[in-house]
């Protein structure tokens, strides 16, 4: 039996420490991992818990991130709770196996501490790795602060391991901004946290020696399509209701409310930005100031569930705004930003008539300041008043040198 750890009601934890404690508390059976900045402390903290008797599962330090996820897949297929953590280049190295994990319908929780992807090499936070995972068939939950990184891990295990879902889940947090910034985190006692997620219930487990199973078969044109369609169907129909139910249950337990789409000041908003990660909190603060100081009815929509993309909830959140700024923290390389595209897809075929523009910001850890957001909200107000796009469709925020906007 692993030892219980007595926690204070509020601990001062950074996002990495918060995630590490969540993994400890749900008593993961196998963590197979490889260190990479800025997610390394998750692995180090967990190693420390193991070395001091707070973990009685297996902790496997592999030779690479690809090896880590490969071990996670083998362990999950064997039949138990599995988790790991990575960032950036390591995430990129894992990508092949991410598709395997979801295609094999294996519940695995991956903490992704978001970081830019080189070249040029960069250790700081942006959402390039998160975006790289968006077609991989994983559930993607997004944290804005260390508290979220802690809480969303419990949600991720609960949903991912549900037999109606059986899909792996990522919990994202911003590199350094969340992962290395210590804040007050409300904790759950070990037994309460474990009970919320519940006992792992194996399904098609290789270690059930009386019922051998074959995992990872070949399918060609005769069956591949049916498998992928079922996977997509589960992701698009089963997951959102399960997350909602888990959010409800979590609120009853903790008083902390999470939503599929987080709306702030949106009831009467005329203009809104849509963003993810730590930017949501900055944008909320600026939206308040826009209302108080500039008389602009500004709102913020934070993405909590990036995959599956909640089309209807996004459309509902944005239905009455006259101008929207989609803030993408990843270079789209050859098109508009992912959030711009997703929001367009959510609002098309609806009655909403709005003006949508795209802002690329924060690449490689560049700050998004309050002044930047003031200028964005001011742009959006001009668009709302004109009823059309008055700026370039896609602009860079906080970029030095000449303006390099497009469209």
């Amino acid at each position: 039996m692993a030892d219980t750890m007595e926690l204070r009601d509020i601990e001062v934890w950074d996002g990495n420490m918060a995630a590490s404690h969540a993994l400890r508390q749900v008593q993961v059976d196998v963590v197979a991992a490889y260190p990479i900045t800025p997610s390394t402390p998750i692995v180090e903290n967990y190693a420390g818990f193991t070395a001091n008797g707070y973990v009685d599962g297996e902790f496997v330090m592999t030779e690479s991130e690809h090896g880590a996820m490969s071990c996670c897949i083998g362990a999950a297929a064997a039949g138990g709770r599995v988790a790991t953590a990575t960032s950036s280049q390591g995430f990129a190295l894992m990508v092949e196996t991410l598709y395997s994990a979801s295609g094999m319908r294996l519940p695995i929780v991956l903490n992704v501490v978001n970081r830019a992807i080189g070249a040029p090499l960069n250790v700081n936070g942006d959402h390039s790795d998160m975006y790289m995972g968006r077609d991989s068939g994983w559930i993607q939950l997004d944290s804005y602060c260390p508290q979220n990184a802690y809480d969303l891990n419990f949600i991720a295990f609960k949903v991912s391991e549900d037999h109606d879902v059986r899909l792996p889940a990522m919990v994202h947090q911003d590199g350094f901004m969340t992962s290395h910034t210590a804040q007050g985190v409300h904790t759950l006692p070990d037994d309460v946290a474990y009970k919320f997620v519940g006992e792992y219930k194996p399904m098609n487990d290789m270690l059930d020696l009386d019922h051998p199973v074959t995992h990872g078969v070949q399918t060609e044109e005769d069956w591949h399509f049916e498998h992928k369609a079922r996977q997509q169907h589960a992701l698009m129909t089963a997951v959102i209701p399960k997350i909602e139910a888990a959010f409800d249950e979590f609120e009853k337990l903790t008083g902390r409310r999470y939503n599929i789409v987080e709306s702030y000041n949106m009831d009467d908003a005329e203009v809104a930005v849509v963003c993810m990660g730590t930017s949501v909190e900055t944008a909320r603060e600026v939206a308040e100031e826009m209302r108080a100081q500039h008389g602009i009815k500004a709102g913020v929509v934070g993405i909590r569930v990036f995959r599956p993309w909640p089309l209807e909830q996004i459309a509902a959140a944005l239905k009455d705004v006259k101008a929207i700024g989609a803030l993408d923290r990843s270079s789209p390389h050859g098109t508009v930003g992912a959030l711009f595209n997703e929001i367009s897809g959510s609002l098309f075929n609806t009655d909403t008539k709005t003006v949508l523009t795209n802002y690329i910001y924060g690449l490689g850890g560049r700050d998004l300041t309050k002044a930047h957001l003031v200028s964005i909200f001011t742009d959006l107000k001009a668009n709302a008043d004109a009823g059309k796009v008055t700026t370039p469709l896609q602009q860079y925020i906080g970029l030095r040198g000449p303006k390099l906007s497009f469209f």
Partner: protein, 318 residues
């Protein structure tokens, strides 16, 4: 405790319980199926198996069919070793936590991969698994070529073989590099047991697999797997080609214990010239011209030197 089969003769062996079904899509005459049956039939214990992408994988688990009557997993080309290592880690975790469904049964963990998946693309993953000391067996089905994709060279392809990416041509005799010595590399990991086997020497193979299963820690088996399609010989000649391979000492049968102690396990009564082994296969046909006589001589010299080296190691008990 692990239960080993007592196998007296080939008839006994061929009728023992089979967890690898004859219903598979491997080529007639493929040595893979012979080797896999010999490995699985060496134990009565439960088995947790993995395969890397390759001939064995694509021919035995095409949905909605499976040829495996034991739990089996495939992820990708490079990570069959890590797949089974992950399952082994889960076994240990559930054992510690008292959650095994059949706690009194101790399964064996075995990964199969071709030489492409072993010598080349999966090398890092295997090395990682061996360094970490997982309790598993890795069996390389070594047919010296990427057979599943139509005969491209791997780092196991020997000098002079014509492969599709190193074809023999007007100005080339085919593959230019000598085969990588995986046995030495895996022994250098300090593995408790490393052995080279061949399907024609089934008693030797079964003894080695059983030794491997009895060892604690990662075990590497390099299994010579004559490939009718890419080595270009008639399907009914698989065993006679295998005999030529072991009797010419191109594939010497030996084991290395704890990374150091080397034992030769088969000494041919009559050593066959390497020329006879090469001459029986279409992939070396182009060498049999005056121009390339020297290559065949070099082959013989290399095989003699290796045999001499193995004997000296055995004598010195190192």
């Amino acid at each position: 405790m692990s239960e080993m089969k007592k196998i007296k003769n080939l008839k006994d062996f061929s009728t023992s319980a089979d967890r690898f079904e004859g219903a598979n899509l491997l080529c007639p005459g493929c040595a893979h199926s012979i080797i896999v049956r010999e490995v699985l039939n060496a134990t009565n214990d439960d088995l947790i198996l993995a395969a890397s992408t390759g001939c064995l994988e694509v021919c035995t688990a095409v949905y909605p069919y499976t040829s495996w009557d034991a739990s089996w997993i495939h992820i990708g080309f490079e990570n069959g070793s890590s797949a089974v290592a992950g399952a082994e880690a889960m076994y240990k975790a559930l054992k510690t936590k008292g959650r095994l469904k059949q706690p009194d049964r101790v399964p064996k963990f075995v990964a199969f991969g071709g030489d492409g998946a072993t010598y080349d693309i999966g090398f890092q993953w295997i090395s990682g698994c061996f360094e970490r000391g997982h309790n598993m067996m890795y069996v390389c089905l070594d047919n010296e070529v990427y057979a599943n994709t139509g005969g491209q060279r791997s780092s196991s392809t020997p000098i002079g073989a014509s492969a599709t990416t190193t074809p023999a041509g007007r100005v080339s005799y085919g593959e230019k590099r000598n085969k990588k010595d995986m046995m030495a590399i895996m022994a250098a990991h300090g593995a408790p047991y490393v052995a080279q086997v061949a399907p024609n020497k089934w008693k030797d193979m079964v003894a080695k697999i059983q030794k491997g299963f009895a060892a604690e820690g990662p075990v590497y088996i390099n299994a010579m797997s004559a490939c009718t399609t890419e080595w270009k010989f008639a399907p009914e000649d698989t065993i006679s080609i295998s005999d030529l391979a072991t009797d010419s000492l191109v594939f010497p049968l030996y084991e290395i214990i704890d990374g150091t102690k080397l034992n030769i396990t088969y000494r041919p009564k009559n050593i066959v010239p390497v020329r006879d082994y090469l001459g029986a296969q279409g992939r070396f046909k182009h060498l049999f011209t005056k121009q390339y006589d020297y290559l065949i001589d070099e082959w013989q010299t290399r095989v003699d030197a290796k045999w001499d080296y193995l004997q000296r190691r055995e004598e010195a008990s190192v």
